[in-house]
C-alpha cells in the first residue's frame, strides 16, 4: 500500500472519532434547540407542538438513536437540516467556506511574503542591529492580540486617512474580484500580522542553524556568491519548520477566525460555528466540526507531502 492510500484510510476513522466527540459534547451543554430558537415563547408550546418540532429536527429520540440516524445520513452525504437556517447543513457550510478559504490563503500569502524574507534577512545579519529590529517587530507581532491589530488598522485608516474599510454585503471573489479584495485585504492583513511574525521567528532560527552547516561552508568554498548561498543552498534546507508552522496555522484559519470576522463583519465559518453552538443547532455544529477536521487532515497530508518534495531523504513509503 503506498503512503497516500495508507494516510487516506485513516481519514474515516478520525472523522468517526471526531463525530462522536462533538455529538456528545454539544449535548452535554444545557439547553435545547427549540428553547434557543423560540426563547420564552417555547413555554407556550403545547406538548404536541413541541413533540412535532422535535420530531422535525430529529431530536425526539435518545442519543444513540440520534447518532445512528445522523451517521446513516452522513454516510450518504446528508448532514441533516440546520435549525437556524432551515437549510441542509452542507449548503450552509459551503456558502461560508469560500470566504474562510480565501481569508486563510491571503493571510498565509502575506505571512510568507513578509515573514520568510524578514527571517532570512535577520539570520544573515545575526546579532547586528537590523537583526534586533526584526526580532523586536516579530515579538510585537506575535504578542499583540489580533482584535487590537484589526481595530488599530480601522482606526488609523478612518481617522488618519478618512477611509473606511468596505463593509456591508460580502461580494464573492468571482463576482467582483476588486471589490472582494477591497473587503478582504484588511482582515487578511490583521490575521497575517501575527502569522508573519511566527514565520519570521521560525525561519530566522532555522536559517541560523543551516548557515552553520558544513555544506554551506562547502558552497562558499566553491565560490558561490552570498545570495546563491542563502537562497539556493541554505533556504531549501531551512524550509521544513516553516512548512510545519504554516500548515498548522493555515489549518486553524480554515476553521474560521471568529474575532476578525466579527470586527470586519464577514460571514465566515468561525461566526457561523459560534452561532450554531449558541443556538444549539446540533446538526450544524456536528457538520461543521467534521468539515473543519477534514480540512485539517487534508492540510496535514499536504504538509507531509511537501516535506518529501523539499528533502529527498524523507521517503514517505518507508516506515
Amino acid at each position: 500500500m503506498n503512503y497516500l492510500t495508507r494516510r487516506l484510510v485513516t481519514f474515516p476513522l478520525v472523522m468517526l472519532g471526531v463525530s462522536i466527540l462533538v455529538f456528545v459534547s454539544i449535548r452535554l451543554v444545557p439547553g435545547d434547540a427549540i428553547t434557543a430558537m423560540l426563547g420564552t415563547e417555547a413555554g407556550l408550546l403545547t406538548p404536541d407542538q413541541r413533540a412535532a418540532l422535535e420530531a422535525y429536527f430529529g431530536i425526539d429520540q435518545g442519543w444513540l438513536v440520534q447518532y445512528g440516524r445522523w451517521l446513516a445520513g452522513a454516510l450518504q452525504g446528508d448532514l441533516g437540516i440546520s435549525v437556524t437556517y432551515g437549510k441542509p447543513v452542507l449548503d450552509v457550510i459551503l456558502e461560508r467556506f469560500p470566504l474562510t478559504l480565501e481569508l486563510a490563503l491571503l493571510s498565509m500569502a502575506i505571512a510568507l511574503l513578509v515573514g520568510l524574507p524578514a527571517g532570512v534577512f535577520a539570520a544573515t545579519r545575526n546579532e547586528r542591529s537590523s537583526d534586533l529590529v526584526v526580532r523586536i517587530l516579530a515579538m510585537i507581532g506575535q504578542s499583540t492580540p489580533n482584535f487590537v491589530v484589526g481595530l488599530l488598522i480601522i482606526f488609523v485608516l478612518s481617522v488618519g486617512f478618512g477611509v473606511l474599510p468596505v463593509m456591508g454585503t460580502f461580494t464573492p471573489f468571482f463576482e467582483n474580484p476588486l471589490q472582494n479584495l477591497g473587503q478582504m485585504i484588511l482582515p487578511a492583513i490583521t490575521l497575517g500580522f501575527a502569522f508573519a511574525a511566527s514565520v519570521t521567528r521560525i525561519s530566522r532560527s532555522a536559517m541560523l542553524d543551516v548557515l552553520s552547516e558544513d555544506y554551506v561552508r562547502t558552497a562558499r568554498s566553491k565560490g558561490v556568491p552570498a545570495l546563491g548561498v542563502i537562497w539556493r543552498h541554505a533556504l531549501p534546507n531551512a524550509l521544513i519548520p516553516v512548512v510545519t508552522l504554516s500548515g498548522v496555522e493555515f489549518g486553524y484559519l480554515l476553521g474560521g477566525a471568529v474575532i476578525v470576522e466579527q470586527i470586519f463583519a464577514l460571514p465566515g465559518l468561525g461566526r457561523m460555528v459560534l452561532d450554531a453552538i449558541l443556538q444549539r443547532d446540533y446538526a450544524l455544529v456536528q457538520g461543521s466540526v467534521l468539515f473543519i477536521a477534514l480540512n485539517f487532515m487534508i492540510v496535514n497530508l499536504i504538509v507531509d507531502l511537501t516535506y518529501a518534495l523539499l528533502d529527498p531523504r524523507i521517503r514517505l513509503g518507508d516506515r
Binding site: Y215, R217, K222, G223, V224, R313
Partner: protein, 581 residues
C-alpha cells in the same frame, strides 16, 4: 619565480576583539606550484584555521585576519593579497583557483541537491557552462575521480552514497575547475582505513595528472608520509617546525615534533604487539567471556503488504572466547558488524541466534554485572547535568545496589587509579577535557567490578598524545584488576599496541583470528592483507597504493539464506583464517 602561495606572518583572531584572542600567531610558509605541504598538529593547534584563512572562509566562522599577508600568484601572473582582498574578488578565486575538501563528506554536501547539481554549479560559476554542457562536464568530473556509472550517479542525492563515494564527489567538485591549489582539511579522518587508502591514492594520482599544489591538513603524521613534500608542525597557533618531509620525520628538531612522532602509534606490522601475556595452554581458568555462533539479523521489508523479503546479516555466526586479563581486538570497517557484535554482547541489540556467557571476575568479589562498556565519544556519553559522583553512582543504582560508604570508597579509589583529582566528585563533566572524560567513563565502567570491558572505539576521538596515555592506563588497569578487554577499533596502529589477540571481521563474519603478532606480521586472509596494506605509516612513506574499485558485498540476503559452514585453516598455535573459495 615567485611561489604560488606565500603566507607571511599570518595572525588570525576570533571574537569581538580578534587581536586579543589569536588562534594563529605568526605563521609563514611558501608553496610552489605542484608542491604538497602537510600541516600537522593536534586539535586546537590552529591548523584548520590557517587553512580556512587562505581562502578566507574563516570570515564566515567568526574569525578575522588581524595581521599578515597571503600572496597568491594568479593564473594571469598577477599577485593578489588574499588577506586584504574584497569578498567579490574572493568568490572568483574560491572554487576557481583554490579548491577545498573537508573532513566530513557526509555533512559537507547539500542534502537536498543532487550530486550532479552540486558539481555543475562549479562549472556554471567559473566556466560559464550551462545546460547539457554543464551536465557533460559534471559527468567527466565524476569519471575523473573513478566513480563507476557516473552518468547515473549524477541524479543521486548525497544520502544515497557511502562516505568514501561522497568524498570522491567532494574531490570532483573541488577539482572541477582545475584549481592550482587544493586545500584538504583532514579529508580522510572520517573514513575507513581501506577507503582512506583509496582516497589518498586518488589524490596522489590527480596531483600527478593536474600538477596542482596541495595543502594537506592532518593530525596523523603517518598519513603525511605518503603524500607530502614539505611538513609544517603547528602547536598552539605557531609553526614550531617546518621543512622537507624526510628531514622533519627523520631528524625532528623541535621537542614538540619529537613528542608528536613519539606519541603517534606507528603501525609496525606486529613488531610492537604486547608480549605481557600468553594464552595458557591448556586453559587454567574459565574464560571471562565465550561467544558461540552469535548472529544478528535485521529484517528487510518491502512490497505491498510490507512483508519481510530478506535480512541484513549484520553479524553472522561469530565465535570467540576471551580469557581474564586478555585483550581481544575486533577490527574491521564500518558495516563489518564489529559494533553490532559489541552491542549484542551487552544486550543492547537482540541477537537472532547464538549464545554468550560471561563469568564473574574471580580476582575481586562483589561483582554484579560482568560486562561493562566504554563508548567512543566522551563528550556525548556523560550526562552534562549530573555531577561526577552521581555519574559514578549510576551503575550501582542501576544494578539495584545502594549507595554506601563502600561505594564512595570505590569511587575515590577508581578516580585515583584513572588519574583524576579527588575533588572531581563534586564537578560536572564540562569541567574536564576529552581525555579526562574518557578516564571518567572508564572509572564508571569499573564501578561494578566487571570481568569484561567492551571498549567501542574508546580512544578514537582523542588526540594522539592523550590517546597514548589512555591506552597506558587501560593496560595498567587490566593488570591490576585482571580485566578482559574486547577492544573494537578501526585503527590498526592502536590495536597493535593494546591487543593480545585480534579478530578480523568482514561482512559480519570473522575471517581471521589469532595471536596479534602472528595476524599482523603474517596475515593469511586476503581481506586482512588488504586491511594491513592500507595502514599508512612513516616507514611506508614512499610506497603508493593502487586504486581498487571493488565494492563491499551487500549484506542483504534473501529469507532463509544461511551462510556456508566456515572452513578454517590453521597457521601456528593460535592463528586461524577462513579458507577462501
Amino acid at each position: 619565480m615567485t611561489p604560488l602561495l606565500s603566507v607571511r606572518d599570518l595572525h588570525v583572531g576570533f571574537g569581538r576583539d580578534p587581536a586579543a584572542h589569536e588562534i594563529v600567531r605568526g605563521v609563514s610558509f611558501d608553496l610552489d606550484a605542484g608542491e604538497t605541504l602537510a600541516i600537522v598538529g593536534e586539535s586546537g593547534s590552529g591548523k584548520s584555521v590557517t587553512a580556512l584563512s587562505i581562502n578566507r572562509l574563516i570570515d564566515f566562522g567568526g574569525g578575522r585576519i588581524t595581521r599578515g599577508a597571503i600572496d597568491l600568484r594568479r593564473a594571469d601572473g598577477g599577485v593578489i593579497d588574499l588577506a586584504a582582498a574584497p569578498e567579490r574578488a574572493l568568490t572568483k578565486i574560491r572554487g576557481g583557483e583554490i579548491g577545498m575538501i573537508f573532513q566530513e563528506p557526509m555533512t559537507s554536501l547539500n542534502p537536498v541537491l543532487t550530486i550532479g547539481e552540486q558539481i555543475e554549479e562549479s562549472f556554471r560559476l567559473h566556466r560559464g557552462l550551462t545546460g547539457r554542457q554543464a551536465t557533460a562536464a559534471a559527468k567527466d568530473a565524476l569519471d575523473r575521480v573513478r566513480i563507476p556509472d557516473a552518468a547515473r550517479r549524477l541524479k543521486y542525492t548525497p544520502h544515497q552514497l557511502s562516505g568514501g563515494m561522497l568524498q570522491r564527489v567532494m574531490i570532483a567538485t573541488a577539482l572541477s575547475c582545475n584549481p592550482r591549489l587544493l586545500i584538504a582539511d583532514e579529508p580522510t579522518t572520517a573514513l575507513d582505513v581501506t577507503v582512506q587508502a583509496q582516497i589518498m591514492a586518488l589524490l596522489a594520482e590527480l596531483k600527478r595528472e593536474t600538477g596542482m599544489a596541495m595543502i594537506f591538513i592532518t593530525h596523523d603524521i603517518g598519513l603525511v608520509a605518503g603524500i607530502a613534500d614539505k611538513v609544517m608542525v603547528m602547536q598552539a597557533g605557531e609553526a614550531v617546525e617546518q621543512g622537507a618531509l624526510d628531514a622533519v620525520l627523520d631528524t625532528p628538531q623541535h621537542p614538540y615534533t619529537r613528542h608528536l612522532l613519539g606519541a603517534v602509534p606507528h603501525f609496525e606490522a606486529g613488531r610492537a604487539a604486547r608480549s605481557d601475556y600468553r594464552r595458557p595452554e591448556p586453559p587454567v581458568a574459565p574464560p571471562a567471556l565465550t561467544v558461540e555462533g552469535l548472529t544478528v539479523r535485521f529484517p528487510v521489508t518491502g512490497g505491498l503488504l510490507r512483508r519481510r523479503t530478506g535480512n541484513v546479516h549484520a553479524v553472522d555466526g561469530v565465535d570467540f572466547d576471551l580469557m581474564p586479563g586478555e585483550t581481544l581486538a575486533i577490527v574491521g570497517e564500518s558495516g563489518s558488524g564489529k559494533s553490532t557484535t559489541a552491542r549484542a554482547i551487552l544486550g543492547l541489540v537482540q541477537p537472532t541466534r547464538g549464545a554468550f556467557a560471561a563469568n564473574a571476575n574471580t580476582r575481586e568479589s562483589g561483582n554484579r554485572a560482568p560486562v561493562q562498556m566504554v563508548f567512543q565519544n566522551p563528550y556525548a556519553s556523560l550526562n552534562p547535568r549530573l555531577r561526577v559522583d552521581s555519574i559514578l553512582a549510576e551503575p550501582v543504582i542501576a544494578a539495584g545496589g545502594r549507595l554506601s560508604a563502600e561505594t564512595t570508597a570505590r569511587m575515590t579509589m577508581l578516580l585515583e587509579r584513572v588519574g583524576l583529582p579527588l575533588d572531581s566528585l563534586q564537578r560536572y563533566p564540562h569541567e574536564f577535557s576529552g581525555g579526562q572524560r574518557q578516564r571518567l567513563c572508564i572509572a564508571r565502567a569499573l564501578m561494578l567490578n566487571p570481568s569484561v570491558v567492551v571498549l567501542d572505539e574508546a580512544v578514537s576521538a582523542l588526540d594522539v598524545s592523550v590517546q597514548a596515555k589512555v591506552l597506558e592506563l587501560l593496560v595498567d588497569l587490566q593488570k591490576e584488576f585482571g580485566l578482559a578487554y574486547l577492544f573494537v577499533s578501526h585503527d590498526m596502529a592502536v590495536v597493535e599496541r593494546i591487543a593480545h589477540r585480534i579478530a578480523v571481521l568482514y561482512a559480519g563474519q570473522i575471517v581471521e583470528i589469532g595471536d596479534a603478532r602472528s595476524v599482523l606480521s603474517a596475515p593469511r586472509h586476503s581481506y586482512t592483507k588488504q586491511l594491513i596494506a592500507a595502514v599508512p605509516s612513516i616507514d611506508r612513506r614512499h610506497e603508493t597504493f593502487a586504486l581498487d574499485l571493488r565494492q563491499v558485498p551487500s549484506l542483504i540476503r534473501p529469507l532463509g539464506f544461511e551462510p556456508e559452514e566456515a572452513a578454517w585453516q590453521r597457521f601456528g598455535a593460535d592463528h586461524l583464517a577462513r579458507a577462501e573459495g
